[in-house]
Symmetry: C2
Subunit: 416 residues, 2 copies
């Protein structure tokens, strides 16, 4: 009998009525002849409430105690959902991470899962129990409670599916799938029935907040089929996220998305000597500043390089401080900052070896008179930094350019 | 360096300001040169809120899932208190029962502690950390989360003090000690500076809701000195509860209390044959009905016994059902019930071998024209069942009779 892992987010378990509905959905899967493991997040605004409580005590709570505090949110949800399933007449048991054995690194507030024990899970599944597991949390080998950070519950679900060799992991959320663009911006954005891990990963990274990249990465690594579907429209199959081998080969562009949490930094006059770039990005990395786009250009007149890159807004202050030091150390001349940017990206596994795609994207932006401040490309993604305020125009123009709103024309378009 | 265990109830940690005050009180103890372990309950009405949530899901939640749910309340409190202590500049760490190793029986909702591991506690204490432990909860050897039931947090604190061979266990609460009677009933009730475990135990059982009998029993068993004191009047030393050997010998009556949760049952015409009483009380015990006072009287005319006893109101329906069956089985004639009763008791280690005390109590009641429906005595307690509605008059009269309101006269009174 195959195993299905389901994951429900905080809005899906926001109150007791919603929890009862989730119970029905879980039981329905079991009645379909599956063994079911359910992962849930904290109810609605529970986490916000707990963060507020901590804020009343201290401005700088220790990460360890925050994990202790926040992990209670999921524990409440799993107990209530297990009760709801039992009330509906089925056998269920709730388990916190420590009981399952969701082992993480010994890092608080953003631990990564290193192992999941399956003995306890399999024992309960063999007894026909529906298992309700607390998402977002883990435990270290010495019993410390950790949390997984952003995207934690999605990652818990995918990792459990991988460990249990589940048939599929269904991520139930408040949207009904993955779209070619944000439907709030682009009216005729169309939903994708299927998308590859790689494309989903790039879309997730550039701001389509349906699935956290960590969860997608884990699914990709262990080849766990994911389904993104709506808690409130259960009959709807949503979007299936799977390996590329099953994908339509000619789809060059799967989607377009904007990410407005990026800030641009540039360090000018970096001496053209080996190690300068390593010094800059090594120091940033050591201080936990993640860097996204990087561009380096050589300025012949002064025999030096200008290096530009983007960081998230939350890392900005820290990054500037670090850069000021590095600037002196390596003898660079100036630091330039630009907060007035948004990153717009297109993603598609089919764009590999099709350089025309980039040109089409730039053309779409040019036609709208949108200036491109920076460009970065990967094999399946092209990102442009545009000025803040124009991102919606950019997304709409690109979406139209690649006919993403029309059904079944994409392949033709690219093949023409 | 000796260890002090402190325990704070839900009202003491009801909001962030109160939690900060508790942090100050904890730190003060450490500054006095003690190693400190703090046990806290769930904040204010958290438990009620969680019970309400469960009630919205099901009328009969499983005990296992209720334990999973309710144990989160204490986990929130310990994290917040640890943060507050850290914010005040001291090193602190919060631990749930599973992390400490507070091992209980595998029974949910009313587990008893069977062992407490001290390795983790001693390691943190040796590193000068203040340890904040979740009260009310335990863990079974197979990692199931249990709760200890009524009086749980008090019991957690005392058991920790016993395991750590602490110098003392301070129970901080919203009253400032143990009184000779309920100060809300008897205006000149006086506070006891010191009381023995045995007396405290009897007082606790008869309705002086300051300390749960389980906690007192545990303290007695391991000879842990307890101090009952006020969270809000820290300079006040409250009441010390210790072994009898340190007690003033001549104190015949330490206090008087009323318990209005008792109901009287009588089974009449019980054949005077061996085994009848065993059958009655054995069957009740097997069905988890606790029996308090028991009286048996022989009625010569019918060569049969009348057996009367009291149970708590919550056990009443169950007890009557059981008795109906037992009545047929043993051939008794009738069951009589009386819900209109309150148990009034006096407690005092000095009443042993002083039969005059009982007479004085009965006289006090007679003077107030209060009828006594049933009497039961132990070596240090005398209880009378009086009619409901007269209990306050009874308590006042007895309090006055034994001069409990006056300082330092009790010993004289008894010695006269």
């Amino acid at each position: 009998m195959s195993i299905i892992v389901q994951k429900y987010g905080g809005t899906s378990v926001a109150d007791s009525e919603k929890i009862k509905n989730v119970a029905k959905s879980v039981i329905k899967e079991q009645k379909n002849g599956k063994k079911v493991v359910v992962v849930v997040s904290a109810m609605g605004h529970t986490t916000d409430y707990l963060v507020k409580l901590a804020g009343e005590i201290t401005a700088k709570p220790s990460c360890r105690e925050m994990d202790m505090l926040l992990s209670t949110g999921e524990q409440v949800s799993i107990a209530l959902l297990a009760m709801a399933i039992q009330e509906a007449g089925c056998d269920a048991i709730s388990l916190v991470a420590g009981q399952v054995g969701i082992i993480t690194e010994s890092i608080h507030s953003k631990a990564r899962i290193v192992d999941i024990k399956t003995d306890t899970l399999n024992k309960h599944l063999d007894n026909n129990k529906i298992i309700v597991v607390a998402g977002f949390q883990g435990v270290t080998p010495d019993k410390e409670i950790t949390t997984l950070g952003r995207g934690g519950s999605d990652t818990s679900a995918v990792a459990l599916a991988a460990a249990l060799k589940a048939e599929r992991c269904d991520i139930y959320t408040d949207v009904d799938g993955v779209y070619t663009a944000d439907p709030r911006i682009v009216k005729d954005a169309s939903r994708l029935d299927v998308i590859s891990y790689m494309e989903m990963l790039e879309l997730a990274r550039v701001g389509a907040n349906v699935l956290h990249p960590r969860a997608v990465e884990t699914a990709k690594q262990f080849n766990v089929p994911l389904r993104v579907r709506s808690t409130f429209k259960q009959q709807d199959l949503g979007t299936l996220v799977i390996g590329a081998e099953s994908m339509e080969l000619y789809k060059a562009v799967s989607g377009v998305a904007a990410d407005d949490e990026q800030v641009r930094l540039a360090i000018l006059g970096v001496p053209d000597t080996p190690g300068s770039a390593a010094k800059i990005f090594g120091t940033l990395a050591k201080n936990n500043v993640s860097v996204d786009m990087i561009i380096q250009s050589y300025v012949q007149e002064v025999n030096a390089n200008n290096i530009a890159f983007t960081v998230t807004e939350s890392d900005f202050d820290n990054a500037v401080k670090i850069l000021e030091n590095v600037k002196k150390e390596i003898g660079a001349t100036e630091i330039v900052i630009d907060k007035d940017v948004v990153k717009v990206s297109i993603v598609g596994a089919g764009m590999i070896d099709r350089p025309g795609i980039a040109a089409e994207m730039f053309e779409a932006l040019a036609n709208e008179d949108i200036n491109i401040k920076m460009i970065a490309t990967s094999e399946i993604k092209i990102s442009c930094l545009v000025e803040r305020g124009r991102e919606n125009d950019a997304v709409k123009a690109i979406h139209k350019k690649f006919d993403l709103g029309e059904e079944d024309v994409r392949a033709d378009k690219i093949a023409k």
